[in-house]
Symmetry: C2
Subunit: 649 residues, 2 copies
């Protein structure tokens, strides 16, 4: 796959990926996209028949017009800038989403139990149920109204089928369904299927149902969405609620990224004007709706958006408020108060989500401004709140959130790790997607480098797990000292520029971008601050409850790192506590997994509501103890080496 | 006020009133409008300064353009067609709305009790309440979310203030309020007023509140609307819920009249296409919103639409379904099933009513397709369901509905009386408004006629109470026989044309239209059918429970007739049963009065819900007994004269 330099070459910049590569004259654009490590849909294999690989050529030597073309049918004969629309992208967040297959069929039936399934002890009792009703026709002597007739029959069936608790339940119906109820009942000859959603509320035993759909009688399954709204990425899973099958999972960038990488920048943007507030809400809903469209356009069941009758969302507190258009101004100002932790039930129509308008959106409750529903969802999936032993849960995403506890108590804190581990602020940094170096090894003698790239393509950057590896190996090879300063190396990989020191990880001729993949002294300092923040968070949490690290029996790592994080290297650099490797577990995108769990089980959902009250937030900004811990952690692995007995000096 | 024929005259046709008059050259248009008996706003008394008397000149000898002018500043110098917009009209439905003053301050305090007030035994406990809260500011150590903080304080105040039953109540908040809750709390320095609405449901004890407004702390009163949606007219009252004061009442035509005078025609129009359905809903909401605008534009409190926090609506079943956009197709087809009798709670925003969008609309439940919420509302006001004695309640509007019963049982039926008594299908018929003959006397010897006109203007037509009078007097004077056939009269008032026989009630020179006001043999036949239908309904209802008429202690007449119906004459023609006059009572627009009652008292509202279940509908179209009764009633007063002992033959 090396680029041959004999022929004429052209530079192609891909946006919004911001990846520039060089390719030979007459290379097809589809090939170039693959070289750049960008996953594009190409259902027909490049024959030009499916029309899926549409891209937009933005700049062009000949004219300045933008032009939509099929990548497979376009040859590169000049320098160009090419936008690859979300629609044309295939499973962008491969790493984040494929892990989800692990819980396929989870929490469905006892018989499916396996030790991988953390979810199995919840009963499958989703918010929605579908009931087939054969109703007696009205007559002059039996002339109650249509809705009363339907309601009486529904109540009777609910009582007959259950569970007793349905006896006292109220059933409501929205005006939108009443409008044509008379026609539907008669067109279906009084044989209808009614989809009900539970209006259960955490605070009370007052349980009731809302009719969200009345259709001709049938036995088609119910479908729902689980959504993880991350600051950086958004992932949507389509679930067959009736069977528990995960039909499809798609992820993409949160379009809000254009208003800033981190939550603070976004809050500042959002509160600047009511228009900004509307816009920042709109783009995240657009992001989700495009993912829904993508999933619906290719599902085997011919599901349309009105077949999606239940949605569960997990996101951090700021993402949740922006998703709902709730002004987040005071979240970033001391004393950091969100408008809501527990979110009222929302109708899909209120936020124009592209699902059945009358269906409900259940949103995971937050604990505090910086401990959101994504963490509650994650804790739910870890099952740590039902264990005797202590568990430490660490979610490293755009922020680092840490939860410690067991069935008796749970404490948490948020640590501003920054976006380093997602590639932010690192010269060759990128997210864990195709083309990213995820493993690296440096020969301590020759400084020769071996690396492993996601998708086995030429490398175009280095992702979080690669950076952790890299930091450990740079230290091991003596390229950096314990504070992260570069040491002189008699190697062509080592370069000094006017404002930084550089170490080359992959040469331009190896890379997919035509440029060197590098790490600099500044990159290293940023990474040390990030790992120091996370470790200091862990220490602060332990201190707050007066517990020594060794008592912790299980450490669960969630987030983009996924299964790819090297535990040994993480300990070497002082990112993770120095505990036996077998105490570490990976859980992938626990926020999404928890959302799926909530979608399938009201019992699990209720536990999540309880968790949000049970988890105590430790505000790290209060007092100076965190700052002391942080400063102590700005070394590799730490100033206090007794905390890292396994690490060689 | 006679028109002087010395000068040049011009014909002016007013629409939508469909009244044509002749006026002298250079009469002001304002004067002409007054001559025509149309009430127009003229706040400045015709000085041309207030701009209120805007009218539209539609046809014009000079050009075909329509032109908006001030009536007071425009002189009539040619024939013209003039549209008088609703906005420019003053208290159109004087007769219907002024009666409302009778219950001013009713149901407020025990001390206001008077024997006129039917409403007094209900406790004043409206759906809405406003609570002033002074909330502790959050801090780093007291950092619950804004909504949780507000909710806890609210619950505490509810418990402290009450009544115990509030202890278990849920409080919900809509997303729209959450969006800026953080700002409101801080801008008001944590001193806020919260308006709550009860979400009580008839079916259950599960009571909960919804926050519908959060504003800076204040003690301003709460306002609400009571609305009567009639087939022909719509009346809106603005109420100070805090004091019970009726601030203003405005009525106008239901704009749906353009799709047909009666409910059947409107159903046919509505179900013809989804667009028609939307349109027919839109025009009634427009009708109401224009009345709200009119009331708000001139209230002394500077109330705006967001200050209206509660709305109660009463209308017949078809009006209710059309108001909500619910397809009414099957109401007119046997077995005549409505989609709903009991209406779910509706948010104002769902139907774009011009009140606080988050406020609730409570709609009176119906009994059956042709016994609507207006009748339930009326029965509530009569208090007949709390009496030992039997009461007969008759509401004569576009339809005639009859309810019979006491505290133990209630039966009802609807009789298609048609629109005769509102002026429909009668040559000189008109509604009970300014210019209508409401009383008439015919000298049995000379056939000279005396009449009384509403507003003491020259007559422009004859309304329901005038027609009842007229029929009785025509019979008494021997002008018609018992079947309604005209008898030859040696009088200039008696004329025979090719297709009808005519009796002149007022000569053209007396009238405000420049034309004779007449009654014809066909008019008489139509009136006999109308009165026969109502009497047959009463008889059928009595037969259904096997009761003789004399047992009825009280007869209550509601509807446009108001206090103006002559009981003696009504008995003479066989419209009403032959009972002592002191058993008869008038209640005016009981539908609107009941709506006011519901607005002020949840106890009253709950009784209305119970009434809707308690009242048994007798379907007159089932079996032939009604038809027998109807045929027997097509005489003056009846074929069975023993039913009318007081009537001379």
């Amino acid at each position: 796959m090396f680029l041959n330099s004999l022929n004429k070459k052209h530079k192609i910049k891909f946006i919004p990926d911001n990846i520039t590569i060089e390719v030979e004259d007459n290379t097809s654009l589809l090939q170039a996209i693959n070289i750049a490590g960008i996953n594009i849909v190409s259902s027909c294999g490049g024959k030009g028949t499916c029309g899926a690989c549409k891209v937009i050529i933005l700049e062009d030597d000949k004219d300045n017009q933008q032009k939509t073309v099929l990548a497979c049918k376009t040859l590169v004969n000049r320098d160009m800038t090419v936008e690859i629309p979300t629609k044309s992208r295939l499973q962008e967040h491969q790493v984040l989403t494929t892990n989800i297959k692990n819980i396929k069929n989870a929490c469905i039936e006892e018989s499916n139990k396996s030790k991988e399934d953390l979810l199995l002890h919840y009963k499958k009792n989703p918010f929605v149920k579908k009931i087939r009703l054969k109703i007696n026709k009205p007559s002059l002597t039996d002339n109650t109204s249509d809705w009363t007739r339907l309601q009486l029959k529904l109540k009777k069936v609910l009582i007959d089928n259950s569970d007793n608790s349905d006896k006292e339940k109220l059933i409501t119906i929205p005006l939108s369904i009443l409008k044509n109820l008379a026609l539907i009942l008669r067109q279906s000859n009084w044989d209808v299927s009614v989809t009900l959603t539970s209006l259960s509320d955490s605070d009370s035993e007052f349980n009731s149902y809302k009719v969200i759909k009345v259709e001709k009688g049938n036995s088609s399954p119910l479908f729902g969405l689980a959504i993880d709204i991350g600051t950086t990425t958004v992932v949507v899973s389509l679930i067959n609620i009736s069977t528990g099958e995960i039909i499809d999972t798609q992820g993409t960038y949160n379009k809000q990224v254009k208003f800033g990488d981190d939550v603070i920048t976004r809050i500042i943007y959002a509160v600047d004007s009511p228009d900004n507030m509307l816009e920042i809400q709109k783009v995240v809903i657009e992001t989700i709706n495009e993912l829904i469209d993508k999933i619906l356009s290719r599902n085997k069941y011919n599901i349309n958006s009105n077949d999606i009758v239940s949605t569960v969302v997990a996101g951090n507190t700021i993402m949740t408020q922006l998703f709902l258009g709730i002004n987040p101004k005071y979240i970033r100002l001391e004393p950091y108060i969100p408008t809501i932790n527990e979110v009222p039930l929302i109708n899909a129509s209120e936020i124009e989500l592209n699902v059945l308008p009358e269906s409900l959106i259940h949103i995971f409750p937050s604990v505090a401004s910086y401990i959101g529903g994504d963490i509650v969802s994650g804790v739910l999936v870890t099952d740590m709140s039902n264990k005797d032993d202590l568990t430490l849960f660490i979610d490293i995403g755009t922020n680092g959130e840490i939860v410690l506890g067991n069935k008796d108590w749970l404490v948490t804190c948020a640590s501003s790790a920054g976006t380093c581990f997602e590639g932010g602020g690192i010269n060759s940094g990128m997210r864990a997607m195709s083309g990213a170096i995820e493993r690296i090894d440096i020969d301590t003698q020759t400084l020769d480098i071996n690396y492993k790239v996601i998708g086995d393509t030429p490398p175009i950057g280095i992702c979080g797990s690669g950076l952790v590896d890299c930091l450990a190996k740079l230290r091991k090879a003596g390229i950096i000292d314990r504070t992260g300063n570069f040491q002189f190396q008699n190697s062509e990989r080592y370069k000094v520029t006017s404002d930084d020191k550089i170490f080359v990880l992959a040469w331009s001729y190896e890379s997919g971008t035509g440029k060197d993949i590098i790490i600099t002294e500044n990159d290293v300092k940023n990474l040390i601050r990030a790992k120091g923040a996370i470790y200091a968070g862990i220490r602060s949490l332990l201190n707050s409850v007066g517990i020594e690290i060794d008592i912790i029996k299980k450490i669960i790592i969630a987030g983009g790192f996924g299964n790819y994080l090297n535990i040994k290297d993480s300990i070497q650099i002082g990112l993770l506590p120095d505990l036996q490797e077998d105490r570490y577990n990976f859980i992938g995108n626990s926020s999404l997994k928890g959302a799926i769990l909530g979608l399938l089980s009201q019992d699990a959902w209720k536990e999540a509501l309880e968790l949000s009250h049970k988890i105590t937030n430790i505000e790290l900004s209060v007092g100076n103890k965190f700052m002391d811990e942080f400063v102590s952690a700005l070394f590799l692995p730490h100033t206090d080496l007794t905390l890292f007995p396994s690490v060689e000096n």
